[in-house]
Amino acid sequence: MLILPLLGAFVIAVFFRGANARHAALFTALATLATTVGYLVNFTADGSFQWAVDLPWIPQAGIRFKLGFDGIGMLLVGLTNLLLPIIVLSTYDKEYKGGYYALVLIMQTALQGVFTALDGITFYVFWELALIPIYFISATWGGVRRIGVTLKFFIYTFAGSVLMLLSLLYLYGKTPDQSFDWQQLVAVQLNATEAIWVALGFFVAFAIKMPLFPFHTWQPDTYTESPTGGTMLLSGIMLKMGIYGLMRWMLPLVPEAVHLNSIFMALAVTGILYASVIAMRLQDIKRIIAYSSIAHVGLIAAGVLTFETTGMQGALIQMLNHGINVVGLFLISDIIEKRMHTRRLAELGGIARQAPVFAVLFMIIMLGTVAVPFTNGFVGELLLLKGLYAHQLWAAVVAGFTIILCAVYMLRIYQFAMLGEAKEGAPVFADIRGVELWALGVLSVLVIVIGLFPQPILDLTAASVENLIKLK
């Protein structure tokens, strides 16, 4: 499952050109998805790590290549492999070369590695490996300001990663037999001062990646300037690395710094309001979605930081949901931009009448984002807010404003872009069909199915979450 995309990437890079590269990439992504489904069927959600790989890598330094799937890893690997075919599909009408698809597939391998690594260095290597393809994707196929913007993104997140590495190294130094093994790192006891520094190292790295307020300023520019496929990778999957990092690495490794969580939570919750209020007035659809993502991720992070069952479970299912919804939204923004040659709300309007199918699917994805009952977003936000409520009342109340503000900015996009009359001289908007319909259709169905029957997904991660909470 992990190697498949990597192989695909090499094959594509070497052998395929033009449209064939696209087909080969789609084939690889679908084959990986099929394999994932096979694994998922055979998966026992008992909280243990399954299909573990444990090879000596640099034995002198206690570094092993160690991977394993528990429910959490399985969910996120599932998310990655589910979204990949859609991300590939979304670029089907673009003239991207094979190199683009090779990079996307390398990214897929790296992301899966991040979500399953059980060794500090393995984790770090995959973490950095994921950064390189996305840098090239954005810097090569992005918008006008891509070079400066992606450079900033690269340096910023890289700086964060170095802090994480320092924290890992410090913990490594404290292990009895000098090992980077996750279990060994978990077992390390720190005193209060050490814990603060180590936790801060992790937190800043993860906060930049997600990004959380106030480490977010690379994000709107990068999301806006990257090609849509890149934005989808960044927002749909890559930002989950940060949340996952909090969940698997920061909290279990430094439970001694648990008192810092309320400060981190305050940042996360502030970010929800901050980003939502900004999103209310912006004109560029992609930028609005970017800020809305900061708000949504803030809520997810706050849920993780409760370090309690409901909040963590809510965060996990919402990571999946956010991936689906945000990819849907960026796809929508791309479809609009392709036809209308603008993403500015003031220049749009009247699309719903010309493209009823598109209007319905956009509506469903939007409702999922706004978290209306019977959509996936509601399950996640309900559990997150419930978890926050039980943990810290004020946080739940403040974070709760997201259900009002999110409605404000999402309905605003929908009204200005879709409703009303078309502007003078605007191009005719052809309704979606073919790959666009498939991609958006699959996402819309997922929005409703998960909203109706969320329990299987919650069952998948329940035992693993309990295991993590025991480490508190």
Binding site: R281, V372, P373, L383, Y389, A390, L411, L419, G420, E421
Partner: protein, 631 residues
């Protein structure tokens, strides 16, 4: 019953899927018929359930477990008891009539199938709201009806102001929903369950602080304020009239806006233990009843008048709830559903005949051209103002009597509000149907009675509006036997004590006589003003003083704009341009700039001259030795 109950819910959902997926390709008659039949089927199902729901039996169906995280376990469960089955009858019964009416009203609209899909979806969510067996699934329906309301207000979405009205409704509802959601969390925290039966059965055993219950009930009430358009979250409802008229009748008069009343009645056991909340409910209800009635006095859009009247009548129901008269509130909810649906559909028939005109200043003398509409409108108007023996007379009288038993001052104010209601309703009625025709010649030529598919629902609703009072005839007139609705609700916990006040028969006679006199006086006064003297409302530019304030809805929208919307927008700009781009991003970039400068400095050091490097090494060694010595 175990199969029937989910089926009732499923029928409108299937209707929605049918119209939504296939409707565009089928003839309109098929779509309209299938949608109406789906609701009719649900009505017959509810009727059967109504027969099966005795004093004790209540039916619960667990469809599936929706979510279980730790101890937070929510079943998708349904409950049919005497309260919910009554609501189901109203929803599906009136819903069916309005579906039929809409076949005629929407016949030339290109969005016909979409319209019926939304209507069916609304019926589904509304049924879910009343049939849920726990607060969270109720919340599903609660938000779902809000969504349908949004879709239907903005049904003619090409019009930008309609889209804006739809957005406003959704957002204002969401403000209430946040309160409700936090209330739901708190209920779970207190009771460890969200199931109605669990909560109410655990209630007596719990010696909990009154404070906690006060907060919970206030949070639930915030939800009700949003959904039922009470002060301060009422301004969305008049704007909601942008939707097609059948929608105004079904959603924004007869059913959805009564969800707040249902919520409070359902939670009556909680509210009874929170006297502070009940007082707040009383005053909010009364204030809304009065305030909206006064605005209604100076509105000239036929649907806006009815909208403010709805806000005002809902206020009256909350007033009843506040004084503990739950059965009276349910009674008025029922009769109001009859006559307000009728009035809206009648108004729709008028608008239809006038070719889309809604300003009553350009109507007049429509009596002759629209006989069925006229006579049914008579029934509706008399019912709402409380003309003796019509449905509204009994239900309003019961509320007033209960309020009087609570406090004569409140009674006086409530009476004032119903007097004002009578004034604006008579004004509306006379200006529309009496006097000379004031529209354009084309409109005069266009005047016609609506087709039978629209008039039959009017007639059915008119019969209900006239006779609905028999559900609950005051005990001093017909003895205990007349109190059918009270008997019906008697076995429901919390509703049994519906009658708080006990008045002497004489007192009840006097009260009833007073209200009757007030109504008759208003009718006579309005007749003189609008029919004999042919008084006409002023043009917008001529209105002065307090009338101008009423005509301009007391500038509440402008106030909200000035204190909430615009500051928030301003804040948004400040956060984006200054906080985000300058302060936060600026500091990040500053680090970058500093780094670049430093690297330029260090680059000077690496000049390739070996002697410098050696010098550096020696310096370093000396430093290390020195430091070692010092430490």
């Amino acid at each position: 019953m175990q199969q029937l109950i989910p089926t009732i819910l499923l029928l409108p959902l299937l209707g929605f899927l049918f119209s939504g997926l296939l409707g565009g390709r089928l003839p309109k008659t098929v779509v309209g018929a299938v949608a109406s039949l789906a609701v009719l089927g649900a009505f017959f199902g509810s009727l059967y359930a109504f027969g099966q729901t005795g004093p004790q039996p209540q039916w619960t169906v667990k469809v599936f477990q929706w979510v279980a995280v730790g101890d937070f376990q929510i079943d998708f469960g349904l409950l049919v008891d005497r309260l919910s089955v009554w609501m189901m009858l109203i929803i599906t019964g009136i819903g069916f009539l309005i579906h039929v009416y809409a076949i005629g009203y929407m016949h030339s609209d290109p969005g016909f199938a979409r319209f019926f899909a939304y209507l069916n979806l609304f019926i589904f969510f509304m049924l879910l709201l009343v049939m849920a067996d726990n607060y969270l699934i109720m919340f599903f329906g609660w938000e779902g009806v809000g969504l349908c309301s949004y879709l239907l207000i903005g049904f003619w979405f090409q019009n930008e102001s309609y889209g804006k009205a739809a957005r406003k409704a959704f957002i204002m509802n969401r403000i209430g929903d946040l309160g409700l959601l936090i209330g739901i969390f708190m209920l779970f925290q207190l009771f460890g369950s969200l199931n109605y039966q669990d909560i109410f059965s655990r209630l007596p055993a719990m010696r909990m602080a009154e404070g906690a219950l006060t907060v919970v009930t206030l949070l639930l009430f915030i939800g009700a304020i949003g959904k039922s358009a009470q002060i301060p979250l009422y301004t969305w409802l008049p704007d909601a009239m942008a939707g097609p008229t059948p929608v105004s009748a079904l959603i924004h008069a007869a059913t959805m806006v009564t969800a707040g009343i249902y919520l409070l009645v359902r939670s009556s056991l909680l509210f009874q233990l929170a006297p502070v909340t009940l007082d707040i409910v009383t005053y909010v209800g009364l204030a809304t009843a009065l305030f909206a009635a006064f605005i209604g006095l100076r509105q000239n859009d036929i649907k806006k008048v009815l909208a403010y009247s709805t806000v005002s009548q809902l206020g009256l129901m909350f007033l009843a709830l506040g004084v503990g008269a739950y059965t009276s509130a349910m009674f008025h909810l029922t009769t109001h559903a009859f006559f307000k649906a009728l009035l809206f559909l009648g108004a729709g028939s008028v608008i239809h005949a006038m070719g889309g005109e809604q300003d009553i200043r350009r109507m007049g003398g429509l009596r002759a051209a629209l006989p069925v509409t006229y006579w049914t409108f008579v029934a509706g108007t008399l019912a709402i103002i409380g003309f003796p023996l019509l449905s509204g007379f009994f239900s309003k009288d019961e509320i007033l009597a209960q309020v009087f038993a609570h406090s004569p001052i409140l009674w006086g104010l409530a009476l004032l509000s119903s007097a004002v209601t009578a004034v604006y309703m008579m004004r509306l009625f006379f200006l529309t149907f009496f006097g000379d025709f004031r529209g354009t010649p084309e409109q005069r030529g266009h005047l016609h009675e609506s087709p039978a598919v629209m008039t039959w629902p009017l007639i059915a609703l008119a019969i209900l509006s006239v006779t609905g009072g028999v559900l609950q005839i005051p005990a001093f007139l017909a003895g205990e036997k007349g109190q059918w609705l009270s008997h019906w609700y008697q076995t429901l916990p919390g509703l049994a004590g519906g009658h708080v006040g006990h008045l002497s028969h004489t007192a009840e006679w006097v009260l009833m006589g007073t209200t009757t006199l007030v109504v008759l006086a208003v009718m006579w006064g309005s007749y003189r003003a609008y029919v004999i003297r042919k008084k006409l409302p002023l043009a917008d530019t001529q209105v002065r003083g307090i009338e101008l304030w009423a005509a301009q809805k007391f500038y509440i929208d402008e106030l909200y704009d000035a204190i909430l919307v615009r500051p928030l927008e301003k804040l948004s700009g400040i956060l984006y341009h200054i906080a985000d781009n300058r302060v936060i991003d600026g500091s990040v970039n500053l680090i970058g700039v500093v780094m670049t400068r430093l690297s330029q400095f260090f680059r000077l050091v690496q000049n390739g001259n070996t002697s410098y490097y050696l010098f550096g090494m020696v310096l370093g060694l000396i430093l290390i030795l020195l430091l070692n010595y010092v430490i």
